[in-house]
């Protein structure tokens, strides 16, 4: 029951953090694109980074990492945003400010993500998250290796 309560509390906090700050960040980025003003979008990116940090703090408080669903949602959203941005640049609908906003956003997200992996898992562990070792699927004779 206690574990279940903790899991619910953590999810609630994560939702609350994204609802309170993350959503404002997203809106400010849209506002920045719309008004073609870099600093508005930069404030939004700041909000997104703050939310990301708050999410990590919540994870630390409850002694967990990102859940599978959160990782999937995050990566999918990132992929979709990159796709939309690239398509709009290729279609010629983006101004120079829009271009810089996009670069800042995606650059920050990638650097933030890598920093998170490095600080949580270390250099070797972070690499192992992506590197699929064939040896894991090979049975080792005599229990050695």
């Amino acid at each position: 029951m206690n574990e279940r309560n903790n899991a619910v509390d953590r999810s609630l906090l994560v939702f609350a953090v994204w609802a309170a700050i993350g959503s404002i960040g997203l809106l400010l980025i849209i506002e920045g694109f719309q008004q073609d003003v870099y600093w508005i979008a930069l404030t939004g990116i700041g909000c997104i980074i703050s939310t990301f940090c708050a999410h990590i703090i919540v994870n630390a408080v409850y002694g967990t990492g990102f859940s599978t669903g959160e990782t999937a949602l995050g990566l999918t959203s990132f992929g979709v945003l990159v796709l939309v941005f690239v398509l709009s640049v290729l279609a010629g609908g983006a101004s120079a400010t829009d271009f810089y906003i996009g670069l800042t956003l995606f650059g920050t997200l990638i650097v933030g993500f890598l920093t998170y992996l490095l600080t949580r898992h270390g250099l070797r562990g972070a690499f192992s998250k992506f590197h699929v070792s064939v040896g894991h699927d090979v049975s080792v004779p005599n229990g050695k290796g």
Partner: protein, 646 residues
Amino acid sequence: MPAPSPVMWILLFGFVYIAVVLFWARQAATANGNYQSYFSAGHSLSPWVSALVLAGSSVSAWFTLGSADILARDGFVHGYLLQAGVLLALPGVLFFKRSWFIAQRYRVSSQAELFKLYYDSQALVVIVACVALLFAVGFAGMQLRAISQIASSVSGGSISAFTIGCALSLILLGYVVIGGMRAIGFLGVLQTVSLISATLVLSFLILVEAGLIGAINARMQALAADSVGAQAFEVSGVIQFVAGLGRGSFYDHPVSAVTNLSSAYALLGIGLSPFALKIVLSTRNTKAIAAGQTWVLAGFFGLLVLLPVGVIGAAGLGRAEFISHSYLAALAQSSPWLTAWVVLGFAAGMQVMAGLALLVAAETVVRHVYKPFFASAMSRRQTVTLTRIFVAVLAVVVVLMAFLAPVSTSALGAFALSASAQLLIPMLGLCWFGWMTRPAVLAGVGFGLFAAFVTDALGIGILGYLGLDVPWGRYPWTIHSAAWGLFFNILVCLLVSAISQNAARTEFRQHLRAFVSEALSGQGTAPLNSYAWAAGLAWGFLAVGPGLIFGNYAFVSDGGWSMDFPSLWVWAMLFWLLGVTLVWLLAYRMQMASHVDLDITSYEPPPTLRPDQSAAEARRLRSLIIFALAGAGLIILTVWSFGGAG
């Protein structure tokens, strides 16, 4: 690049909101086991959830948008609104901890049950049910209509307010019916943070648009230079002995210092309401009562109302384009996403209170009135099912009342606060003063409710419609109906208590009081008590009482404002700070709300036989129907004979 239509963004955010609501409702239903812990989440809500939801439902969209509009209309004369955080926290500090302990010991989960248990009075249960219904239909309906109208104007009228109201009610109905109290707790957190964000964003946008605080202050100073405009920055005396609103004229304006004090009593009604108690009693422990009341409600929300909401109100003073709904409608043209998101935040802020009020009203009526009187054999599953049906019925009534009878809804909503404030006396008797007897409390509440009713718009309107034209208006002598009610409530309670002391000490009540004394022994220190209570009285006198008159001129020099801000606003900031200190003193230093780690064993009542009640219940139901029909006939006859002529 042209901005897309606001309607698209309203729909987009609306669908995201619905998805989130359904997700958490499902989580709650799973944890509830469908009906087992539907009413009070198995008393397992996390303390921080409880603190946040309590603050969110106490403040709700009414305090943020509503207070801003009142400030923009009348100026800074409503000191009680600026002290809302502290005032809303005070009942919690006084009553929540003790109520929680009693509820845990005797395994009850609502205010109605507490009163039934302690006073053994079904009449008090019915009164609690009526108060809960007033909040659900009146207070929530009033907010529903206001938010729906704002959303409709933001959409440029392409979605009608009624449609939006129906959609919001449907969402509300969905999660209350599916997840009960647990869903209300879970979603309450998200709704509260959305309300906070929406308020901060709106305040920031208006602040920037209005030329920052310097420009707002300069405009207010220009307004204050004019004798009529100056009325917005001065409380109109201590008291005015006039017949009341709608009857004769006032000196300057009708908001006196005593109006503030008496309205502050009405605000206490929110903390004393059945829905506030419901959250507390559904919580796992008392860990967050002190922190919730001191830092979340008095501290954070107090500051939110004082500054961001104050800024929205100040900007709108004399500048109609900065009144929240006008500003949002204009903003929708340039930033539809921001506008839609802000409106959704306020809608969520309305739902945090409305959902709770709906559940508590339905539970009280079904579980504590209908079941014991007419269907005591109902199983828990049947009770939950009937409550769900009643929630649905109430949701429909709320929408219909809000849009078909807005004046009546507003009157009901306003009276909800005054009526709930009358529960102060039963709560004092339950938690603190064992000498308050059952007949005294009952008589006090009865007289109090009557006095509040006949001095409020609702009572005056109903009596006028029935042909009884009372010689006073709303809030006679500029005193709010809540204070009139409390005056008679306390007076009658004291008198009847003095002559009915033999009824005070039943065995069960002594047992309960002994438990409270034992559980909370060593709480509070005598030398501090007198200082704390003196500080409390001084704060009440100066912050919202007659001393508020000093605030008119405290920060004025050479005909101008010595700190650039209106004197009453600075006065409010000063007393907010002192108010938070006061709440902290009471909650922590006097340990009135601080956490006590205690293993509470449930009270086992002596076993009694439960005779078959079905025949008596059927008889009661028949009597109720006959009484209702006779009452309705009598009212129709009276209206036909005397009333309705205008």
